[in-house]
């Protein structure tokens, strides 16, 4: 059964100290409902996606149930990144059991040391005491990539600049200044080879989507984002299991696999020419280039070419991250759902100043796990 995104709601991203966590969720949920044209009473199922450890609240979906519109409804939570909420919501509607679903994810980075939470997220016997957190894990992955793909500092800086420039056109973006290439490339190393300027900000924010069956979506007579394809797959837990193979193959083999699953379902044969816009998880500029390769936008080790020739800039053949991406706004657990929301806005032609002209097919990509062990791809169509 076909399923469409019929409503998108986002808070702005940044430090949201004027709102408690459930107020943040309420704001995004209300906006998504208003955008969909559905009343809360009409919502049949709710999927929430949050991290108890980041929230500092156990079973935190109980706290936010009210704000997510779930009172007296079938609510279920995923403890993975927000994009998994979309997948579960999709499956529930596609099954025919529910006519529609509301999906919401939230993160309040400003309330906690996210570095400590990411360190504590590691398995305690073999990994947690070895200097690992989210940033050092991404740095380890990046060192392998730089070694095999001959990517330069300048290439990374260009990714940062592209996404931050795009972010300046996004009224929801975390408030940031536009850096110069020189500033980016002279920024100190936090965890070599990652510079401070290569890392996303830490943002608060919430994002909600309303999705509905074909029948319901058609009856609304408005622009929808049709979910044409989905793919998701989980990697081996221990990053060292795959590392030996990734030194000699594509950098993100599991993302490649999930994209193939999504392309097959959506009937996409030549991604670079069939996809009009992509929102991907640029957790570092190097990861954006690895993602191009895994998604088949270019050949292995040629992600840098798409940055050098401007293909993925606004106005290029395949703009990537017109919203500014994660490098502009990073509500950590929610960032992957934001990719879907932004992809949906593009094909609904509601992306305002960040709209890609004639965007008919959008790709959204999300990660979960410290070393990108979980990879999801969603293809959306107008």
């Amino acid at each position: 059964m076909k399923v469409a995104i019929i409503g998108v709601g986002q808070t702005s991203y940044g430090n949201k100290k004027h709102q408690s966590i459930d107020e943040l969720v309420f704001e995004a949920t209300k906006k998504a409902l208003d955008d969909s044209g559905l009343e809360r009473e009409e919502i049949e199922s709710v999927v929430t996606a949050g991290s108890d450890a980041l929230d500092g609240r156990g079973i935190s979906n109980m706290v936010i149930a009210g704000g997510s519109g779930a009172y007296l409804k079938d609510e279920v939570k995923v403890a993975d990144g927000g994009i998994y909420g979309l997948i579960l919501g999709y499956l529930r509607v596609a099954s025919g059991v529910f006519d529609n679903s509301l999906i919401v994810s939230w993160t309040k980075s400003s309330e906690v040391s996210t570095d400590l939470v990411s360190n504590l997220s590691f398995e305690p016997l073999y990994l947690r005491s070895c200097g690992l957190n989210s940033i050092t894990s991404l740095a380890l992955q990046t060192s392998t990539y730089i070694g095999r793909a001959d990517v330069k500092d300048e290439d990374a800086a260009k990714v940062v600049l592209k996404n931050r420039e795009n972010g300046l056109k996004n009224p929801l973006s975390h408030p940031l200044q536009k850096p110069s290439i020189k500033e980016i490339n002279s920024s100190r190393f936090v965890s070599y080879p990652l510079r401070e300027s290569y890392l996303p900000p830490e943002s608060d924010g919430a994002c909600a989507l309303v999705i509905a069956s074909k029948k319901r979506a058609k009856s609304l007579k408005k622009n929808c984002a049709w979910i044409l394809g989905l793919g998701w797959v989980i990697d081996e837990y221990y990053a060292g299991d795959l590392i030996v193979e990734t030194r000699h193959g594509v950098s993100l083999p599991l993302l490649k696999r999930s994209s193939e699953m999504a392309y097959k379902m959506a009937g996409v044969e030549n991604p670079i020419s069939e996809i009009d816009v992509a929102e991907v998880s640029d957790v570092t500029p190097y990861h954006e280039m690895m993602i191009y390769e895994a998604l088949g936008f270019c050949r292995d080790r040629e992600g840098k070419v798409l940055i050098r020739d401007g293909t993925t800039k606004m106005g290029g053949g395949l703009p990537v991250n017109p919203s500014g991406g994660i490098l502009s706004s990073n509500p950590i657990f929610t960032s992957s759902l934001v990719r879907v929301a932004e992809g949906a806005l593009q094909v609904m032609r509601k992306a305002g100043k960040r709209q890609v002209k004639n965007a008919k097919v959008a790709l959204a990509q999300g990660f979960t796990g410290m070393s990108t062990q979980g990879s999801c791809v969603v293809i959306l169509g107008s």
């Binding site: 004027h18 500092g56 360190n119 016997l125 073999y126 200097g131 050092t136 740095a139 060192s143 965890s191």
Partner: protein, 152 residues
């Protein structure tokens, strides 16, 4: 209410006693008592898994025997950390995934014995493919931090 908002400071301070189980206990005891790094062999794909596990997730069978791996190996990925992160050691320090001789999977740990204050000098030595050896703490406690890597 613009600037006089109230924040409620809280901590999660919970003690856990994580069971290492028989497989990890054997691995840690070999490090502690004999300065040996032991991997587990998967009877199906023949990979020697490090860190050792009682089952192979690819083949979904129980691993069958202990294999002593070599005390040397090659760096597969690395980072040098210059930031003080909450929960992590004072910087600078280096960590690397190392494929030890005889193992099929790389295992992460600290790389010590290298001056990291000058990055340009450090990355001439610590790099992908560089040879390292395992070094052990004198007083070992049955923890992963009982050993580290050193460049050879």
């Amino acid at each position: 209410m613009k600037d006089d908002l109230i924040f409620i400071a809280q901590r999660w301070d919970i003690e856990f006693k994580h069971a290492a189980g028989e497989t990890a206990s054997t691995f840690f005891k070999a490090i502690m008592q004999r300065r040996e790094i032991l991997g587990r062999l998967c009877p199906k794909c023949k990979r020697v898994l490090l860190p050792p596990r009682s089952f192979c997730e690819r083949c979904f069978v129980e691993t069958s025997e202990w294999v002593k791996v070599g005390g040397e190996g090659k760096i597969q990925s690395f980072t040098i950390v210059y930031e003080k992160f909450e929960g992590l050691p004072p910087p600078p320090y280096a960590i690397a995934y190392v494929l030890l001789d005889g193992a099929s999977t790389a295992m992460v740990n600290f790389v010590k014995g290298l001056d990291l204050n000058n990055l340009d000098q450090a990355i001439k030595k610590i790099k992908i493919g560089a040879k390292v050896k395992v070094a052990f703490k004198r007083k070992r406690e049955g923890r992963i931090t009982d050993f580290w890597y050193e460049l050879v």
